[in-house]
Amino acid sequence: MLLTIENLHKSYVAGGIETAVLRGISLTLERGESLALMGESGSGKSTLLHLIAGLDVPKSGQITLDGQIMSEPSDSKRAERRRHLVGLIFQQFNLIPSLTVAANIAFQAQLAGRHDPVWCTQLATQMGLNAHLAKYPEALSGGQQQRVAIARALAAKPALVLADEPTGNLDEDTAQSVLALLLEITRETDTSVLMVTHSAVHARALDRQMTLRGGIIAQ
């Protein structure tokens, strides 16, 4: 089992009032498996993704990724595990505006000490970015930027790709092609994918679908 989540709880306190966002989530994900996470806004999808990535810590419960505990309190340890195990893709791309496309793709792999120039070039080719490697993100279209973000996420050969509405900012044609590329490469590399999406069509492209409602798994 690549990912195991046990009885995960998370709440936020605002104005002295505690609001539960996740209320006892448990799930598992096999190596190479892809899972679509759906649900209404505020249902806790992104929070769950952030907790799996170790960007935040749960109130209770445990997350184990590839044998490593991602819910552990040390920020440094979570950061190190995230670096090596997780590839993150955001709706807003979140590329580093001051780095070229090539440098952005190689960036996380360099951080993880796994930079493989051949693999990076191959990813860029598959993503159709070869003509843009020397450009800065601002010169690319939204679809191109998201492809750079996918390449960056995959360049470090992570065990799990966490994608938070990766097609949310793209038109339908572009979204389809970007998603197809993501799934094609993750399948080739036996990389697991957990993707938050609002689109049932996109969700069906993944191996499994799951819906969150009010902080619990509805189906």
Binding site: N94, S98, L111, G142
Partner: protein, 800 residues
Amino acid sequence: MIWRPALRALLSHWWRNPLQLFTLLVGLALATALWSGVQAINAEARASYGVAADRVAQGQLDQIVAAQGQKLRVQDFAALRRAGWLVTPQIDGALVVAGQNFRILGIEPLTAPAVTASQNLQDLPLDQFFSTSGFALVASDLSEVATNLGMAFRIEPSLSSGTVLLDIGVAARLLDRGDTVDRLILLREQPQSRPPLSAIAPHLERIAARSSGDDIARLTDSFHLNLTAFGLLSFVVGLFIVYGAIGLAFEQRRAMFRTLRALGISLRTLIGLLMAELLIFASIAGLCGIALGYLIAAALLPDVAATLRGLYGADLAGTVQIRASWWLSGLGMAIGGTLIASAGALGRLARLPLMEAGTPQAWARASRRVMGWLCALGVLLLLIALGLSSTATGLVQGFILLGCLLVGAAFLLPWLLDRALAVMERISTAALPHWFWADSRSQVPGLSMALMALLLAIATNVGVSTMVSSFRLTFTGWLDQRLAAELYVTVESTEQAAQMRTLLDGRVEAVLPIMSAVVQLNEQAGEVFAIEDHATYRDNWPLLSQSPQVWDRLQTPGTALINEQLALRADLSVGDLVPGAQGQRILGIYSDYGNPAPQMMIGLAPFRALYPEVEAIRFGLRLPKSDIVNVTQLLTSRLSLPQGAIADQARIKALSLGIFEQTFTVTAALNILTLSVAGFSIMMSLLTLSQMRLPQLAPVWALGVTRAQLGRLELLRSMVLALCVTVLAIPLGLALSWALLAVVNVAAFGWQLPMFVFPMSYLILSGIAVCAAVIAAAWPALRLARTAPHQLLQVFSSGR
């Protein structure tokens, strides 16, 4: 090795935003330059005082000098040595050779304790030094003209500017002193059983160890404290630029920080990397600033040397040396200042919710939130300043008052501007003016640091220029009163004085003797002067307070006038007894600018009774101005008086005013530098902010306002903001000036000055400040006017 790519990513922001990097580095370098320049001057001055005290033993050892009107001869030196007194002679005088001024200091190396103990002079070629042809040690600044002395010489960097150290015999010959010397320095250790001075040489008197020494140290410390305060102010103004640049860069990189964290960089690593980045910049800018500071110090040091010599009689070497004390302090300030300026941004980063979307506008919003707090703190500081204005007495309290006043007003500024612009926004009904005021108001938080810097710079300019101009006006008037005599003559003996009186009989209106003696007043070395009953004094002498019939009563024994310094330090007023004197009661207090020592004036007859040994050899002559040339020629031809023995009033006034002007050259230069730094701060703030302005301006452009119009409105905005700041800076500057004149000057120099206001110069300064702001805004406005339409359109695309 995760730090390497992460640091590269962080640094890539600067690579892509070179203007911002330039702002940060230049701001920090300028701040460090002004600080380290001032510190270099201070370090040089302190080293010079130390050298002077150690080497020539003038500062720390007792001296024996001739009583007024008497001579100190080589025979007196021999008699004292024979009697067991351990003394060493010195000659001190000025020599002009081929148009070059030399200060000649003659010493006797075998008996001069500090000189022979000095490391540098132990290899002194004594055979050459004692030779009749002479051997000179000359100060560094004389290296190119020392050949004019016509003797072998060696450069001695530690000597004071313009000084030539010679064997006393050679010095006596050059200065034509015959067998007289100026002073005998007493060694610290003296035999117990030696006879008293009065038994060996009753015409000589002993002056306690630098009676003026403590005074000089205190006064020069005051001067250096003033300089340091200026340096610190400039540093703070520069630091505002750094704070702005760092704050903006942090906000612009918020998304990058979030991405880096998402990609596996821990918060600790990220903060560590940012600190490393800042330390790299601080070190680079600090070193550039130190180099710049060296140049500033080298440029200003001659004026500082002239000031210290003119005002306090303290000597200073004329060249700046690279001393660890000031360059380390400069580097420390650069690094410390950067860390302080970035502390807020780093703190915000540490508390930043990891996934919160960040925009540069968040920076401005955060600034708006702190505006209220700053306003409250500003009011508190101004209240403290108000309290201190009536109670502050010492120098430290004076500077606290200045600090509270300036910082309090600066903190209040954003709130005041916000309120003023809100009023304008409310009363504007047309769309574009309404938007203009609202938009200007929204710019205040982002510009607040630069505007505060401008406020401080203008207020300092107003304050210091008011102080200097008030001083100049008072000083000029005072000189006119004090230097009432048309000619001042020094003769060599009482016989020559008698000849002069005979010669001038019927040719001049009055011959007024100027006689003085060295005395202890209020436990400090001071002087007592004799004053003849004459209309010259009755009509002109500047009295600050007086008793009735002061001039009539002054000629009776037991009465005196004292200078303001003595009155302020000993807390004396009319009717009190003069402490340390022979029971004189104070009839009046006179202003005595430029003199650090206590002084007293008594009638001529009582003076002669108290000091019979003092002979009248200096005189002030009253005569019609048209006769000055004739009388001067008569005195030089008939009495063979040298040129230097006769000084006319105009020359002395010119000399005094020259010294005065030099005194404030340094403050004027620092004023201009501070204003320049503030102008630079505005330009850089506007430039960096202009990068965030597109989302605000694009909709206005889309609604029909041309880019050129937007550019012009940007210029207008800068002009309005600068004008608002100037309007607030003038009263602040006047308050600053009052504090300088009424508190700091009294504590530092011992005299109080009346304050004058100069509306025309404030108007000119306001014009300059507004022009500077418009010039600073011109580049950003031009960039805006030339912004390509596609850049503005991008604002509406989904990418943003």
